[in-house]
């Protein structure tokens, strides 16, 4: 891997439950192949899965853009969808706008965005109602839990 790292894009379709989670799984495998620390792999796997599911559950379409550098992983999840009216509220554990149908599938516990924040070393969320949402996160090697 050179200094510019590895760049990958994973398109994600809203409502496509059959393939949901595939992008996160592929990203996990890439990190395993390049020998990233176990803690980073685990944290990226959890956060990227949550980001992918957010697009599948709530948006029309979106993509995960991933930049893997020698000492960090940068992920941008951008979607076209309803957006989040109150991003601060959405970051609270237990707050959810999920439908009964989504909850029946085991989602909508109001833990998604808090989980992403907990797993990552840096997070930024920007959203516009009726347009879409962009979540950016970074993981630094030797960040949280990487010694595990």
């Amino acid at each position: 891997m050179d200094l510019h790292g590895i760049y990958k894009e994973f398109p994600v379709k809203g409502g496509d439950f059959a393939r949901a989670g595939e992008a996160a799984g592929k990203l996990k495998n890439i990190l395993k192949q390049i020998g990233a620390p176990y803690g980073v792999i685990k944290r990226v796997a959890i956060a990227s899965y949550e980001m992918e599911m957010n697009i599948v559950l709530y948006a029309d379409e979106g993509k995960l853009c991933v930049n893997i550098k020698p000492r960090e992983v940068f992920i941008v999840a951008r979607d076209r969808g309803p957006g989040i009216p109150n991003t601060e509220k959405a970051m609270e554990e237990g707050y959810s706008t999920a439908s009964a149908e989504i909850r029946e599938m085991g989602f909508g516990a109001g833990m998604g965005l808090p989980n992403i924040k907990k797993a990552s070393d840096w997070m930024q969320i920007d959203s516009e109602v009726g347009v879409g949402t962009c979540v950016q996160i970074k993981f630094f090697f030797n960040g949280k839990t990487d010694g595990v």
């Binding site: 989670g21 796997a45 989602f107 907990k118």
Partner: protein
Amino acid sequence: MSRLITTDEIRKLLDASMLVNGEVKPKMGYEAICACDMISELLSIMNEKQRASREAILLTALTNTQVIRASETVDIHLVVFIRNKKPAPETIELARSLGITLMSTPFSMYKSCGILYGANMRDVNEGMEMH
């Protein structure tokens, strides 16, 4: 003290039927249990530092494919469905492709957890100080 327990011991204790005998097996055995029916809760529980190196199994009533995806995400390789729940063929196929073992027990969540607790398996929420 918790102790390590094999796939076959779990199957016998829970009187479970084996749906998929996955290829990925723990080096020593399973140590901890995660019992939940919410995907994000599973991810949140398994995100904690102290649990990262512990071999855990999942007990759940959810049978959709996302249970398998989420299990793979947090390195859980044995999923037990409670109350005789049987997953759809696509769930079984996905588990097989990822090497994850699937079982179905006739017991309820409460009874299943009680039996495994009695066999000295512990909750993933319990700290490492017990070792």
